[in-house]
Symmetry: C2
Amino acid sequence: SMAFNINEHQHIRYNPLKDEWVVVSPHRALRPWSGQVETSPTEQVPQFDPTNPLCPGVKRASGKVTPMYESTYVFTNDFPALLEEGPEPEDSGDPLFQMKAAKGTCRVICYHPHSNVYFSNLSLKEVVAVVNEWINQFVELGQKYTWVQIFENRGPMMGCSNPHPHCQIWASSFLPNEARIKDKNLKEYFKKHKTPMLIDYVEKELKKKERVVYQNEEWAVVVPFWAVWPFETMVLPKRQVRRFNDLDCKQREKLAVTLQVIVAKYDNIFKCNFPYSMGWHGAPTGESLRENQDHWTFHGMYYPPLLRSATVKKFMVGYELLAQAQRDLSAEKAAAVIREQPEKRFA
Amino acid sequence: SMAFNINEHQHIRYNPLKDEWVVVSPHRALRPWSGQVETSPTEQVPQFDPTNPLCPGVKRASGKVTPMYESTYVFTNDFPALLEEGPEPEDSGDPLFQMKAAKGTCRVICYHPHSNVYFSNLSLKEVVAVVNEWINQFVELGQKYTWVQIFENRGPMMGCSNPHPHCQIWASSFLPNEARIKDKNLKEYFKKHKTPMLIDYVEKELKKKERVVYQNEEWAVVVPFWAVWPFETMVLPKRQVRRFNDLDCKQREKLAVTLQVIVAKYDNIFKCNFPYSMGWHGAPTGESLRENQDHWTFHGMYYPPLLRSATVKKFMVGYELLAQAQRDLSAEKAAAVIREQPEKRFA
Ligand SMILES: O=P(O)(O)O[C@H]1O[C@H](CO)[C@@H](O)[C@H](O)[C@H]1O
Ligand SMILES: O=P(O)(O)O[C@H]1O[C@H](CO)[C@@H](O)[C@H](O)[C@H]1O
């Protein structure tokens, strides 16, 4: 009988962070595609657009004018999903109809005053400024809120409605699902193995090499063994840190370099502005700042939807929504594709 | 201080089936949308297309010719994500790199020989034939496989690449994530309350009425209290049944009526072919056929992406992927919209 080949034969893989499985069907990569094609994400934007509320000096929906900022700029979202105050629901007492209060705040971080820049063409100093702003915001909001979710939706395909380089922060009084699940699984692993799961994981990946797409002294970028999205990656520190603000100067600078490289590599795959959602996870904040959180390792995630080209994405639909995530390309194959891309973006 | 209003004030709600929470931000419904708009799903298709492999008499990618079928027609997917046989991975022995064998089969069910028909314009008899075919397939595949996932992706927005009315079945040797999680939560509820969760749930919803969008003698369609997608619904039996094949003749016929009504209502909301993924869940099969499964209640789910119009969908992106699902419109508001739609599709 034939030998099992990870790049050719179907199997399921386990995600120990989420306690979930993914179906891997590499044989299906040959499937022709006659379904929906997207607009190629290659949009060019001017440096300044007088109608774009994220540009310096332009009036926003709230009536406030965005100031003439020169580095990063942070403001409260004009249409926040979470408000700081509001009436609270009562407990229904019924396990099938449970509601709880949710408090929070939503902010927007502009990375730079110019609309036509991004990680791959900002200077290293400018990217370090973005990293430092993320950390400032995380520390400030973490005093009050249990979870500070920093994330970016890049491109219209990812529901982003403004081409100016920016990300968002949604901070909340509750621990969101993804954080709660990771907390549980990281805690169980730590209890059993006495080491943080993600530090064990990054060390093993660095030895195995097959899923590593980039590394420097402080960081490794891998396609996780359990990746769901075709070109999903994880950004992992080589030294244990629990939260964003635990990073020292060298780690911050090297993170900036890492971001520049990974975005350039993504853009090079299909010669476009590779769409994705990305964000950062670390130990919870608020009241958790006073608890032991040694099981948590700070890390980043990129979830990009493209599968075959700049216009054909992976649809996470019927089977994926109702049963289990499924991928066509093995994580190892995806890693090889990302790894071989130049570290500078195509011009 | 202001009184809490479920249609106006933010909160989080609990999904007892999945042990997950959703953020509800009704105040955000006013947010203007300047992001990506989709193609309006109003495509007209001819009754017969000689190039469409799902039409009777047309040759498929595999070289096989689709026969001159007159009712439903089932065949094995030419590009299946799951194969019946194949080499199996070895156990790595490492908790961070777990792989397992996956076996399965993928089938396509054409609902009818004509391409220009759907639930809302098929005769009741023809829809009953679809329901019976689902059950036949479920029984046949359930002899061998642990989970038989019947699902439909409707429309190009949902990754469907063929306009002929059809659905899919992916049957697997493993219990997929969604099924495993529901099984766990249903089991715990049954242990504690001695009644199936979803029967308690449907009874309570029928009393409360605010989330019921349609009902007949056998079935109720509700926007679940914990709905994530803007117009998500759940199809629940009024009498306890564990699996698709436990439905008696009356339940089958009334299910066909229910499907016709719910699809017509959906299409009427934005006067289009409302896109969605839908599918059926019930007690597991295979070796589980011999186990007690009284905690399971057979039910259906519709997950439609549209939010504000035929061209503006809800993007499940950054915050949703990294933290927690979020919705703008309360489940009660969505239910009111669906409920007030006529039961016949616009012409
Ligand atoms: O099987 P199809 O229709 O070719 O493909 C569609 O449904 C599948 C099952 O949900 C998904 O994995 C694919 O991404 C989607 O495009
Ligand atoms: O906040 P934005 O950019 O207006 O909106 C985008 O990101 C949000 C957070 O992931 C999502 O809830 C929205 O569906 C998406 O369109």
